[in-house]
Subunit: 815 residues, 2 copies
């Protein structure tokens, strides 16, 4: 069956793929004068020289003496593969920034090719301004080289330590969504976005091209993607570099972009091609913006993008030891890995570096020569200092009304059923209204389902993708909206991250189960923030606020696939300095919590609150006090006043709070002599000992709530083990009985789902009785029997009627 030799695809045109063919470009202009071309070429030489210095050198930065292995770092780390292409792109944008006075910054999708950009940040002076010890002199250069991929130094991506970066690129796929997020409501800004062809295979990147359907050419800036077809990933060709040009053009047009090609490897002709093409694209962007802004009419142009096809490892030796290096995947990482042990490779490296003629680019003292330096945009315009990339610099606090004014009226606890989202949605609407250019709400298509549609009165859903007459009938679409919905958790999260990183505010709302789709993105964002905390010049950005609703306990009808509250476990593993988790039990607590989150900075705040009708417990004063403490004893539900309780009933999460309260009521009805304390937790990290998390209680404080020697029955919203993980070393932890979702579900009723996971009132009360055998003696047996019976009856009712019994759905606090 095996064919002798792989055949070409029917639709391929191999001869056109090779970047070693003659340089080609869609725009055939030669905008650079001879002098400009020469200087541009030299600048690029300087940048590439620095890239190699970063990869290899710890001493002798300008090769002022012959290169010896003592000058080479002991451990060679870093990536050469996309450096040249990224540097090339950056340099040509600089010319246009100067010529057209642009407001631009760069997003580096390939990530690992950071030297290609960092070298430019050094050449234009910003790096030394930010890090004076990496000055523009020999010693500074030596330090600049040595720190790269070196303990105590900087990584090989565009890490937070790098000025001009708001996108690290360690995990691939988010360059475009971050770039779009950063230019929304920044009408003057252009995000030059280098998209790796490896990255372009990821799902998140593949769908994020559609972000252009959500960009308003009047009020937003522009994203100028440069798809860098360098042809290879770590060990494989990339898909987009091997499809025919016909397919690639179709794909980009299909995504709604107008592709312009720049392809080749000859530097001089490539410089002209890129200069002309990039200039054409910038002019197209400005033309479309002018058209929209002059007319006041929003439309979706086919925005320009560039396909840059250049060899991987461009300007490296084509072959080493008989194997392809430049133009093949071997150029991915350190191109000559054996320089320390192999004198041949050391010599090759020295020749390669000297070919850039560093002595003509830098003064003897290590300063970049002024006639090249003047190619950089003037101070204040350099991409690496664009304040957008250090968003805290331009961030203004959100204008917030007093959240107390949105209070739900609660006269008596646990009597009224009311949707917790109701008043919060009004609060949110007013936030939208009062912060029209600096606040957006994101979601994958669930804002209305999540009962937040009140927002649409202030800002509808952004849609720049054609309208139908039906839309007038409740479509809530508007190119000037403030809510962004696309059925891609990745894209909306990426937009929001970009929006926050560039100094604004926002909220992501999502069904709880599907937030796992962006576990890894949230992980990476938390890591970004944590590193920023260690970088003195990074200013605080708004927290990433994630509101999880349509939660597991009310996904009974959607079945097992829609039931997963485990995002909290992922978040709880991140740095305690960064992550916060809140489970407000009712509407007023939700208001208080959200107000706190909106005012906070540099956190990932996860808030879990269901959208369905719920009992309301606390009036606003009580809610504020409760949320401020993060947990509290609910006296109105307890009967241990002034005494040691026999048992503590505890809860964290809105649905389980109702069950825990009902269990408490059942216990008090069946066993009135029992002293029960009811504790509710809003701020999950109160449970962990202080020292592990800034919010953690001391053991003494903890004991004041939970006791150290009484059984605790804890009803938890999520998987029960998270509470055990937080409290494993608390005194009395062996008396802690946690109930939560334990992966038992299907098509259920709410009570039936709870019963299957033993978080229902009956099971909780039974657990309390079972933990109290020493206190109760035989007294518990009768109550236990009755509770068991009720549990079975409820279960059967569900199976027969498809419903829960009325005493469950209409339950209120009986005391």
């Amino acid at each position: 069956m095996a064919s002798d030799k792989p055949l070409q695809s029917l639709t391929d045109e191999v001869d056109k793929w090779s970047p070693y063919s003659q340089t080609r470009s869609t725009i055939d202009e030669q905008p650079l004068s001879k002098d400009e071309l020469e200087k541009t070429s030299k600048w690029m030489h300087a940048s590439l020289y620095l890239c190699l210095g970063m990869l290899y050198l710890k001493e002798n930065p300008l090769l002022q003496e012959p290169l010896k292995k003592e000058h080479i770092k002991a451990r060679l780390l870093g990536h050469w593969g996309s450096d040249a292409g990224q540097s090339f792109t950056y340099i040509h944008m600089n010319r246009l920034i100067k010529k057209y006075d642009l407001d631009a910054f760069v997003v580096s999708g390939p990530g690992h090719g950071a030297p290609g950009l960092i070298s430019n940040f050094y050449l234009e002076g910003v790096y030394s301004e930010v890090y004076p010890e990496k000055a523009e002199d020999l010693q500074g250069l030596q330090r600049f080289f040595k720190q790269f991929s070196f303990p105590g130094g900087i990584g090989s991506h565009m890490t937070p330590e790098t000025p001009g970066s708001l996108h690290e690129g360690g995990e691939l796929g988010y360059s475009l969504s971050h770039a779009f997020g950063a230019v929304f409501d920044h009408p003057q800004t252009i995000a030059l976005t280098i998209v790796g062809d490896g990255e372009s295979e990821t799902g998140p990147l593949a769908t994020s091209w559609h972000s252009n359907k959500f960009l308003n050419p009047i009020t937003d800036g522009a994203v100028l993607p440069v798809l860098h077809l360098n042809g290879y990933k770590i060990n494989n060709p990339t898909i987009l570099a091997r499809i025919s040009e016909e397919e690639l053009v179709a794909l980009m047009k299909g995504y709604g972009w107008e592709p312009y090609f720049v392809e080749g490897s000859d530097l001089d002709t490539m410089h002209q091609a890129m200069a002309g093409t990039l200039e054409h694209c910038v002019k197209e962007i400005k033309r479309y913006q002018k058209e929209a802004r002059d007319s006041g009419k929003v439309f979706r142009p086919r925005w320009p993008m560039i396909v840059l096809r250049s060899p991987k490892g461009w300007t490296a030796p084509r072959k080493v030891e008989g194997h392809y290096l430049e133009g093949f995947w071997r150029a991915h990482q350190v191109p000559l890995p054996k320089v320390s042990s192999d004198p041949e490779q050391l010599k090759m490296l020295e020749e390669w570096m000297r070919a850039y003629e560093p002595e003509k680019l830098f003064t003897k003292e290590g300063k970049f020569i002024p006639e090249l330096r003047e190619l950089a945009p003037p101070k204040g315009k350099r991409m690496s200092e664009n304040p957008i990339t250090n968003g805290g610099l331009i961030r203004k606090p959100l204008k917030l009304n007093k959240f107390q004014d949105y209070a739900i009226k609660v006269d008596k606890p646990a009597v009224t059923n009311y949707g917790s989202m109701g008043n919060f949605a009004i609060f949110l609407k007013d936030i939208v209204k009062d912060n029209m250019q600096t606040f957006r709400v994101m979601g994958p298509d669930e804002t209305e389902s999540n009962k937040l549609s009140e927002i649409y009165k202030a800002g509808k859903k952004i849609w720049v993708n054609g309208y139908l007459p039906e839309d007038e009938d409740g479509g809530n679409l508007d190119p000037n909206g403030r809510v962004m919905e696309m059925l891609s958790e990745h894209t909306v999260e990426g937009w929001l991250e970009g929006y926050l990183l560039s100094g604004r505010h926002g909220l992501l709302n999502s069904y709880e189960p599907f937030i796992h789709i962006i576990d890894s993105m949230v992980n990476q964002h938390a890591k970004w923030i944590e590193k920023c905390l260690e970088v003195s010049w990074r200013q605080a950005i708004s927290s990433l606020n994630i509101l999880l609703t349509s939660t597991v306990w009310r996904q009974d009808h959607n079945g097992f696939t829609h039931q997963d509250p485990g995002f909290l476990d992922v978040v709880a593993n991140k740095s305690p300095e960064v992550v916060r988790i809140y489970l407000p039990p009712d509407g007023n607590c939700l208001l208080s919590t959200m107000d706190h989150c909106f005012k906070s900075t540099n956190y990932v705040n996860v808030i879990v609150a269901d959208k369905q009708l719920h009992l309301q417990y606390l009036n606003m004063d009580a809610a504020v006090e409760h949320c401020t403490k993060g947990l509290g004893i609910w006296d109105w539900a307890s009967n241990d006043q002034g005494e040691e309780p026999d048992v503590v009933m505890a809860s964290c999460g809105d649905v389980v709070t109702q069950e825990a309260l009902a269990a408490t009521a059942l216990l008090r009805q069946h066993l009135p002599s029992l002293k029960i304390r009811f504790v509710n937790v809003v701020d999950l990290f109160k449970l962990i000992p202080n020292g592990y998390h800034p919010h953690g209680l001391t053991n003494a404080e903890y004991g004041n709530y939970f006791t150290t020697n009484k059984p605790v029955v804890f009803a938890f919203h999520s998987y029960p083990w998270l509470v055990h993980r937080l409290t494993y070393n608390r005194p009395g932890q062996d008396l802690m009985h946690v109930r939560g979702y334990k992966e038992k579900g299907n098509i259920d009723t709410p009570l039936e789902l709870a019963i299957r996971n033993e978080t229902d009132r009956f099971s909780l009360a039974i657990r309390a009785i079972d933990s109290l055998t020493d206190v109760l003696g035989n007294r518990g047996a009768g109550a236990r029997e009755k509770l068991l019976e009720q549990r079975i009856r409820s279960m059967n009712y569900a199976y027969e009627e498809g419903l829960d019994p009325e005493e469950f759905t209409n339950w209120t606090w009986p005391f």
Copy 2:
């Protein structure tokens, strides 16, 4: 700034979007005779009647008496939106299965529209064959209706309980990758794959169109996607339904597909259009397959796909209470939600259902009339009984050599450094060789980096996307390969799931940090398996084996973004019946573990093993014994023989095992009188009490390893809290000190990274000393001092030299 009214996009052609225009199709043929058309139309009526029955009825299934609210389910659940379009597609495939004797099955991307397909499974008889109590009679029909979205019944997706399903579609985005996975190495099979236009916005789906670059037309089957543009998601229009047809054609061609359009709402003309178009597509598939198979030459044709534009909620009332229903997002869920309370709506429903004329479709006894039934493919050919969708039926055990024959020679423990992947890769190569049609290895572009490239000797990387001369120089590409790499964790995971679900075997290998990208997919797969365990006719499928390497402790050089071992926390929350986690400490244990995993069924096996050089501990006999027990005391490293130890040093994970051993050695050197027991854990769930997981030890067994009253210093591969979560209620847990990754990293050396997280030998030994103050008295202080000093010295060495000291990198067991 706000424009008066949203404008159309420049590139849009609104008039063409509407499915209410005249029916249009790329292929203009009328293949159905009048009789065929009439019957097809009636079949569809029957299917839609059943869909409504499933949504609404608990009694009176054929409306043999007037519809009353007592016949209506108390809780209305389910989705109408895509039912008609999915049913329509299915019906037309049936005709072609009969005409061309096709081997086909269906994948339902929209998921929530399951009634559209389940109704057909009932009509063609399969449902009643599988579930005799849902017979083809009145009572069976009544039960069939009532069970839908009803407690104890079936969900509104294509859940495991549904025959003919291998893809549930609860979480969106995986229809195409699952379909491709299922047809790889099934050359006769066509996967009719309905892709929702909502789903098509997800990242995973957006990139999975590129799967066609990995399909071999000779040895694989075909995927026939039907992109169902029904125009709306829950509350929003879909992107692809609102771009111009020009852009949509370009997008599909850009993805490498040839799109054929079928657009409209008039049923009769749409039937002809779909019949003609689908037939054309099937013929194209067969033509391309014949060309490739006759010539023996692999090529990539532009495979056909269909764009079906029909109204959301097709055949529902166009407006209800003055608002658009059909053709708008309001048709998403239950179309007439108030039938129980509003007599008008009840009447409307009755009229709607009666319009399908159930009395002409079913006999009085409730049997589908024979002249319609004969439209179905014959027994054995119906899509809903295709054994591919119950893959265990056709699964054959993997042919495996004796893994012991691949043993690494270990004469003395902890003396030789060897890469654990080395011999495993050879084992894997032979598995590939011996199972050429039934085993594939997947990865996102890291198989070589993960040191598994030995496999390429048996099967290279599949690539059907054009070749360049450089590929001859180590490209390892081959359209007949067995390794599949695309830089999309989502796609490779989806392929593998599809491949396993359809009865084959495989392995996913990935860098550890980026496996979080598919947290949610693995979640969903685990849920699928768990439900299958409850479905008696579902046969066991091969386990999903995920090998995580390039682990956190050896991602020191790639920095913080590449450090996240938290996937284990996500997996540990899934059903204990399904998930297994193994951390083999060395190469022979890896071989034994992988052999076990490859033989297993119905699990998600996660195996964590690093790719770098590691000390080897156990010869093969010892490894087999160790892995069989899942944990063990390493006598050679312990000095408590026959006595109670003073302290237990424990480890789980390869890198941390070396540090824990080194710590043990340091303790024994500094404090020779100390009795130390060394315990290593391979099978993580041994730690959890029995009853919580089938692998869990009893407390007595646990105590035999860890004692119940001695301090345990436990070095763990992942976040330390997972061990606490597993052992929180073990006797002696308060003496358990776990060290693991606690989110401290940057550009480090391996030892420096360990020190920052306190998992290094010095910190572990110090922790042991600190836990032994009662035993050691003042004796520990001196040793502690020296260890601290060594820790500081190592740290400084890293910062100065960029390396770890030789005594670390070359450490071996000294006794």
